[in-house]
Symmetry: none
DNA sequence: GTCTAAACGAGACGGTACGTCGTGTCTTCGG
DNA sequence: CCGAAGACACGACGTACCGTCTCGTTTAGAC
């Protein structure tokens, strides 16, 4: 029961914001040092609440963009899937989420903890939403039974992340629709 | 004018090998220090020839796996594409290339030079090979004209890289075939 | 007056004891943190009553060993002085006081407050007792008039402290007697 | 045989000087950080050559004051001893050595390595010189045979160090002579 | 054969960031 | 008013790599 000095919300905010700002202004993950300085907070405080700058960044990312998953069951299946992918494409291209995710993906590869967190809290929710629509489609007979949903989901989402990372091709406005169109004939009844 | 002491091939080998071994035994990129020590070479020599450990790793990777691109025009288009993707899947799963690429992709995100090199020397050749087959297919009327080849190539390859990075689903033996099957109906005439 | 919750004697005891135990088990002064933890007390409480761990240690030391000064005027002067030095030697060698004093002397050098306290409350009482006997000796004609009492006291006590600090020679049982014997011919009539 | 970049003498000098200056301007041992900053040298370099600031200080101290030991066998024994003690008193009072030694003694109490070094390289040489003269005195029949030289040496030197530490009495010009006078009757034949 | 320019080894050095520890202060609640 | 719990800023710690530098020492091929 709330003993001791309560954690300062202002500082938490300052830290999350500082991390995001630094990350957006650079290719590389901000250092704990830099975040602390920018946020006007001591390094000790940082380490007390987060194990790494990636964790700080991730927390800020999730807080800002947690509400970006489409679960509208009234939409036709294809439209729902397209909306999902389209939401992702816009997120990656038009919001800070894209740049932040790039760096978090880099960190994920070398740091297992970040990988787990990012997978569980970012990727999986989106994958599950898509799988949900696919299964709904199978139920109502719009999607071919026996479809490998995991694979379809990867086919839908992977190109967007791929282009985010490599930058070899743009994240077009119609990317989502085209990707869905590419996959749809193979999975519809 | 080959004046002066020529560069030692043995040392170059030792360095490339040391880098690969270290990378395979760890999640993170080896440090220049570690590579030099492992190769029995002075740090000076390393810095003389490569700007970063990622560059060392990349050079070794390309040297080992440059011959892994399928250009056989006698195969039917779909078989040729499947073979391409399948070759990639096996490379990523069954050879050191997978682990090395993971780390190089991480480095690419934060280091523009590595990104450029990896894109130009690893990704593009494979993409071009696939595009070549797609265009061949359009020429012989097997592929629908007007197909967005860049998108199709991403749809074919991205899932494999995606699973390499995230590890959320396995790089199955039949992944290549399934991915091609998923895309094929939408692009064939 | 007497308002509010009175100070807890148990905690004071626990703190003094914890400090002494920690000091005896280490070369270095215990930290405030460690004392608080060991005593099962919050750091706040510590800082409320003592400015430093040296102060805690000193208070405990004085409490335990305040009664160790010989003022028996019935003894002959030389015997009284010898008894004084002997008491000190035994204190330094056979009781916790030795180890505690070592650390307090270390702290005294860098911290003026500790130095003053230790000087006033530990050194001076003992010096005055010795000076008292010397002056008594001068009064009864046993000690040469005009003797530099301050110097003699230093000559008597300093070797013991010196050996405590450096450990280059043992604090023998007969150290006190030998030191007195060394000085006596020069000060007796 | 001198491979690699040779160690910079200037930096070594700058470090030793910086440490001494900082120590003289403060009660407490300088931090490694402060020494590095003051010397215009990186912390890494400091840690490469010395394990602690006490070690830096000690090296500087020994370098400056190694030549302060009197070994003149032509002097009468008592004069030689008095000269020894007098040299020490002047060193402690009139040169930086006094303040530096204070802090080194403090460090010695809590750090075994410093203690050993200081004992071996500062105390022992001086003690041996004094013992040498005492033994010479015994040989020529001026000092009573069977004299406990170790004790006499402590009686001669300890008061000076004692006053250095506590500051309860001054290091007078005639301190050396008085101390010798105090001890002499008991040891001369 | 010698000359010579580059490759190479050894290691010093300045830097930046790391993650931890101890300090002393402050804030909030409960006895 | 005492005390517990704990957040916080600060400063120093000792370490790891980084990239650069300054030497001395090979060594193959040009002369």
């Amino acid at each position: 029961m709330g003993r001791g000095r309560p954690r300062s919300v202002e500082r938490r905010r300052a830290i999350l914001d500082a991390a995001a700002e630094l990350a957006l202004g650079s290719q590389t993950l901000p250092t704990m040092d830099a975040i602390a300085t920018r946020a006007g907070v001591s390094r000790t405080t940082l380490y007390k609440w987060w194990p790494s700058s990636a964790a700080v960044l991730l927390e800020g990312l999730l807080e800002r963009f947690h509400a970006s998953i489409e679960f509208d069951d009234d939409l036709p299946v294809r439209a729902a899937l397209t909306a999902q992918v389209d939401a992702l494409v816009h997120l990656l291209r038009d919001t800070p989420a894209g740049r932040l995710l790039r760096q978090l993906m880099s960190a994920s590869i070398t740091d297992a903890a970040t990988a787990t967190a990012l997978l569980d809290q970012w990727m999986e929710p989106r994958r599950h939403a898509a799988i949900h629509h696919l299964e709904r489609g199978m139920t109502i007979g719009e999607i071919r039974p026996g479809t490998d949903t995991a694979l379809v989901v990867d086919a839908l989402f992977a190109p967007a992340y791929h282009r985010l990372i490599w930058g070899h091709a743009p994240l077009d406005d119609d990317l989502a629709e085209h990707v869905c169109a590419l996959v749809w004939p193979a999975i519809t009844t």
